[in-house]
């Protein structure tokens, strides 16, 4: 049985009305922003399941935009997110969509154009009590909770890559708390999600990128 903290019961401090549809929406967007490396230029927000049905009445739209702008779930400025988005020059659209049965009923998909003109898609769900889980980045499956610093890399799935990456982290005294590898097929592209105890600086990312089989790597700050 799960051992709860008292603050799971009394908390979070949040802007209402719904821990899953408002606070959770805000945290999902904060994580998407973190994956995108900052406030995006443009974003298409696709809303699935109960998000599609009640997003306005729960202020999910405001919470999502607020999160993309970097506002936390307890920031009352969320209510003004439409104006703030305009000031920040963030272009957005909201579209209800049916992603299919296999998705959690509270799922959001972000199609993002980053500040560096990169295109990234991030899909995640609000799984209750304000907790969230990112399940896909660029159509690769991942599991990202956002409570620890996280490194996400894509690499060619051959023996030894994981060892090389963890060696680089070890040399910089970055401790791995949790690691998972996701892949569609053996010996093709694999996605590695590494949760660490320390933040990973850009210089270490550059070093990891030099490992021959590594295609890309990004660091996601905890939210």
């Amino acid at each position: 049985m799960r051992e709860y903290s008292v603050f799971d019961i009394l908390g979070p401090v949040m802007v209402g009305p719904s821990s899953s549809h408002t606070a959770g929406a805000s945290r999902l967007a904060l994580l998407a922003r973190s994956v995108a490396g900052g406030t995006p230029q443009e974003v298409q927000i696709l809303l699935h399941g109960s998000f599609a049905e009640t997003y306005q009445g729960h202020g999910s739209d405001l919470a999502l935009l607020g999160g993309l702008l970097g506002l936390g779930p307890d920031d009352v400025a969320i209510k003004d997110a439409y104006n703030l988005a305009q000031e920040a020059g963030l272009k957005y659209t909201f579209t209800p969509i049916n992603l299919g049965e296999s998705y959690h009923p509270n799922t959001v998909k972000f199609i993002i154009k980053t500040a560096n003109n990169e295109k990234i898609t991030v899909t995640g769900a609000s799984i209750g009590g304000g907790n969230v889980l990112i399940t896909e980045i660029n159509d690769f499956s991942v599991e990202l909770k956002g409570d620890l610093p996280t490194l996400i890399s894509n690499h060619y799935d051959v023996p030894g890559v994981i060892a090389q990456v963890s060696l680089i982290l070890a040399q910089h005294e970055i401790n791995i708390a949790f690691m998972r590898v996701f892949r569609k097929e053996k010996r093709k592209i694999a996605t590695m999600v590494l949760e660490t105890d320390e933040l990973v600086p850009q210089s270490v990312l550059d070093e990891i990128l030099q490992v021959e089989q590594v295609v890309d790597v990004r660091f996601v700050e905890p939210i």
């Binding site: 709860y4 903290s5 008292v6 949040m14 209402g16 009305p17 009445g57 209750g128």
Partner: protein
């Protein structure tokens, strides 16, 4: 205490050591987080301050909810009780006004503490602020009472649920009432076992309450169920302080609550497919809300 499974364990330990339930809960949390009790008290004090602010905000300004269904009810009741002789008494009406006010702040995207959820967030602050004022207590004592409430909440989350989608509204407004009832007994100087009885009495009164939000919004009936929760908490606390006991022990009530929740059909668990959500008016509201969109 390494795990916190039953209210009875809290009561036994507290009575053996002649301390309050909150003391045991604080030790549990500090151990779990590997931190000092002072640290978690500080964090809880912040929550308490947000709770009090949310009452003030809600009673000061009339705020229309996001879905437009509610707003201003807390203030209405407060104005009424100042002007008229109430039927149920001033204090309990004041507690209800406060609970409504917090629920309205929540529904209008103001800042609140989920307690245990957004829909039920007015009950604990409404009850505790009213008791604080009545007994002239310091904030530190209130922080303790919040730990007692949360400790009971942990037991409910483990053996039943604190989510309307899982267990119906008994799991949200009901749980909040049970938690508040125990906390109020502690504030009034009642024994740990009285706190347990008070929680048991409160929960027995809401067993089976369904979750049926109109148009799927946290507005109707949610806000007004906070009125039920806060008054139930205060009345249950008074009953326990008078020496009235819950014949069914509190932990058994909680387990029954869990089973009742499991037996509730899905239509009555936050899906907006049953109860008030499908009343004629509920359906009309949902329809016009969809069109507006």
């Amino acid at each position: 205490m390494k795990t916190l499974n039953y209210v009875q364990d809290l009561i036994k330990e507290a009575e053996k050591r002649k301390v309050k339930i909150s003391t045991i809960v604080k030790e549990y949390e500090a151990q779990k987080r590997e931190t000092e009790i002072k640290e978690i008290e500080k964090e809880m004090l912040k929550q308490w301050q947000v709770m009090k602010e949310s009452i003030n905000t809600g009673l000061k300004e009339v705020r229309r909810s996001m879905g437009g269904l509610i707003g201003g009810e807390g203030k209405k009741l407060q104005d009424y009780l100042v002007k008229s002789n109430t039927l149920a008494g001033e204090k309990i009406n004041l507690a209800v006004a406060r609970a409504l006010a917090v629920a309205e702040v929540n529904a209008s995207m103001g800042k609140i503490v989920a307690a245990p959820t957004g829909g039920s967030c007015g009950i604990i602050p409404g009850a505790l602020v009213t008791v604080q004022e009545e007994l002239g207590l310091e904030d530190e004592v209130l922080v303790d009472a919040l730990f007692t409430a949360a400790g009971i909440g942990i037991v409910i989350a483990k053996n039943a649920s604190i989510s309307g989608a899982q267990g119906g509204c008994q799991a949200e407004c009901g749980a909040a009432a049970g938690m508040a009832a125990a906390a109020c007994v502690e504030l009034a100087g009642g024994s740990p076992s009285m706190a347990g009885h008070s929680c048991g009495i409160a929960l027995k009164n809401i067993l089976g309450l369904v979750c049926d939000p109109v148009a799927g919004l946290v507005e109707v009936p949610c806000a007004k169920r906070n009125a039920m929760g806060v008054s139930l908490a205060l009345v249950s606390a008074d009953m326990a302080l008078a020496g009235i006991e819950s014949v069914i022990p509190v932990d058994e009530v909680i387990i029954a609550m869990g089973q009742v929740g499991e037996n509730l059909p899905e239509t009555l668990r936050e899906t907006a497919k049953g109860g008030l959500a499908v009343s004629d008016t509920g359906k009309k509201i949902a329809e016009s809300y969809k069109q507006e969109k």
